[in-house]
Symmetry: C2
Subunit: 385 residues, 2 copies
């Protein structure tokens, strides 16, 4: 599809419908399935009692005024068929056959200079608790800046806590981030994130399904979550209590066939319980670093990372006989070469030569009564992050 | 098999072999496969160069003296066929066909009053880093005491860190715990755990494959790990670096067809990297609490636990219309009943009645310009465990 493939009437109808029909209204999805926006718009004007629940709102709707208001706020209205339309959102049509609050939005209000479709061609959603711990906030910022640095757009909901940390992480490395709101793109909600949202609109994108001026409701938050899940290739849950918006978003990602990842945390933290639940019960991928997330959200067979390995140690370089001798040297009480030879299953001459090699490498210590491993320092004092 | 189903000669041969042949010596497993202990013992005395690597040790071996020494240390020697023999260890015969350091021990030296076979009929191994964090130590103690309280025997290696915390957790609730050592059961290694090991020998069991007086070597630690893994129904890794003895034990558990569980921790902690690796790359079960571990180590279909749920909140009890109304009330900027009705898709009369109900429950607030959700307190200051 190409830009401006849509007629003016269809676009105006979609503007109007975005104000008349609540996001993800299942009754509307059912009543109007298969119709163009203009056909729906026309039917609502027929004054049929069948459509009354929506048509009562028509009196207050003026698509031209909404478009002007958007322009004044630096926003545009993007609809299916536009060059900027993110096609992955179309998956919500199928989800809409099944679930409340699904359905493809009539359009998306977009604030910011970037091209929305380009921005989400490589995008990861990062969601979690508003009341997150400092651990969660730290990890969100680290993962987000690392991903953004690798060219991944970070999608989140503009809320306090994990959302804000994720947006900030991307901004901190001049990466791209998108805030998908449950209110109008010109509404600063939550209030204390007003400066952050302005910054995102400046350097990234602020996106909403609801027209300018709309306030958030719980229903709108739930519907908004489906957009976050659908628009990204994967959703990373960082910290989430058992019942939380982040798990709702993860559920949408599952329904949309997107990868769900969860960052583990201390089992003693209530905040990580939702992440652990996702891994245990819902097959989420455990995410511990940027590479894990890139691998899981890349097309099959690309973005693969090697499993973590400890750095090679000097003992990795030993010949088999020397290694075998080392393995047979007592940890503590010294043993003579003959005893070590017997333990190692090597002859005495070979063993003695190996012991000399090991001594030169200071891997073993000679004492008056034989050989032993060097004394180790006691385990370090425990430390936690 | 019944107690004393073994001849005295077979038992003495096994005592001798436990000193002559290193635990899990693959060459010995191959050379003597299918032979009784007495047959092996006899062959070693033939002075054949084929067996020289083992027979050179014969001069210093005296089975009668080893048995006396064990008795003096309060220990006994348990062999296959004895009433107390833990039959799950026999799985190591098959593993011995494949791997270095496998093979069924010739016998087990056992200190303590409990019956070894009974003690491991319901047993979980708990292993992890010696240099663990305070988080790991705390979680090991909590899980261990909880499992022990449910009648599960805790098996570990008697080392510093996670091992010690696991043993102590079980002892703290008068539960059963077993230390499987890489040295003789009469050797206090590591030295600073001497009091703990005495206590375990008193109230639980100290078990070793090596005869009394033997010192640990790296080879013996690796071989010991196979016993820990085989004797328990599952192995829980609490904190482990990428290259660690705990992951070696987990590998043995996999080879023995036992369940491997891993406790997650902060992704910022190097100590939890091994646990996360097990979940990501090796299909270990994520363990966050005692119930998770009991479920995963119970016979199929038993020990099941319900997935974690948040406590029911008052809003769970609302009727569908009231719930729908609540979902349509703005979070912040008040809206009149008519607007809420339109958002909720309900008629005005129903909406007004629902709003009254919600107001009575103090779930919404009335203002001069309409209804909104009550102001929330800002998110609490971040806190981590």
């Amino acid at each position: 599809m190409v830009a401006d493939g849509n007629g003016e009437q269809e676009r105006l109808a979609r503007v109007g419908l975005s104000r008349v029909i609540e996001p993800g209204d299942l009754a509307a999805l059912k009543a109007f399935d298969g119709l163009s926006a203009q056909e729906i718009w026309d039917r609502l004007h027929h004054n049929s009692p069948e459509y009354e629940r929506w048509s009562t709102r028509l009196a207050t709707v003026d698509p031209h005024r909404d478009l002007e208001r958007a322009t004044a706020a630096g926003a545009r209205f993007v609809i299916p068929g536009d060059d900027e339309w993110p096609e992955q959102v179309d998956i919500l049509y199928e989800a809409g056959q099944l679930s409340r609050r699904a359905g493809v939005p009539f359009g998306l209000w977009v604030r910011g200079r970037a091209n929305l479709r380009h921005a989400v061609s490589r995008a990861v959603a990062m969601v979690g608790s508003r009341a997150c711990s400092s651990y969660g906030e730290h990890v969100a910022a680290e993962l987000s800046s690392g991903l953004a640095d690798s060219g991944v757009t970070i999608v989140s909901g503009g809320a306090y806590g994990i959302d804000a940390a994720a947006h900030r992480g991307a901004l901190s490395v001049a990466g791209l981030t998108i805030a998908v709101l449950a209110c109008g793109v010109d509404v600063s909600y939550p209030k204390r994130n007003a400066a952050l949202l302005s910054r995102i609109a400046e350097d990234g994108l602020v996106v909403a399904e609801l027209p300018p001026g709309c306030a958030p409701t719980k229903l709108r938050f739930l519907a908004r979550n489906r957009l976050i899940a659908a628009i990204a290739q994967g959703t990373v849950v960082i910290e989430a209590a058992i019942r939380s918006g982040a798990l709702n978003t993860a559920g949408w990602a599952e329904q949309c066939g997107r990868t769900v990842l969860a960052v583990p945390g201390p089992v003693t933290s209530r905040m990580s319980a939702g992440s652990h639940l996702l891994v245990r019960e819902r097959n989420a991928v455990l995410a511990t670093n940027v590479a894990d997330i890139i691998e899981a959200t890349s097309p099959f067979g690309t973005g693969l990372t090697a499993p973590p390995r400890a750095p090679q140690t000097i003992t990795d370089t030993l010949s088999p006989d020397v290694q075998r001798t080392l393995d047979a040297v007592p940890v503590h009480n010294p043993a003579p070469a003959a005893r070590i030879a017997a333990t190692a299953g090597l002859d005495l001459t070979t063993t003695e030569s190996c012991l000399q090699t090991l001594a030169t490498m200071t891997l073993i210590t000679q004492t008056p009564t034989g050989w032993r491993l060097p004394p180790t320092t006691p385990p370090p004092t425990p430390s936690t992050p």
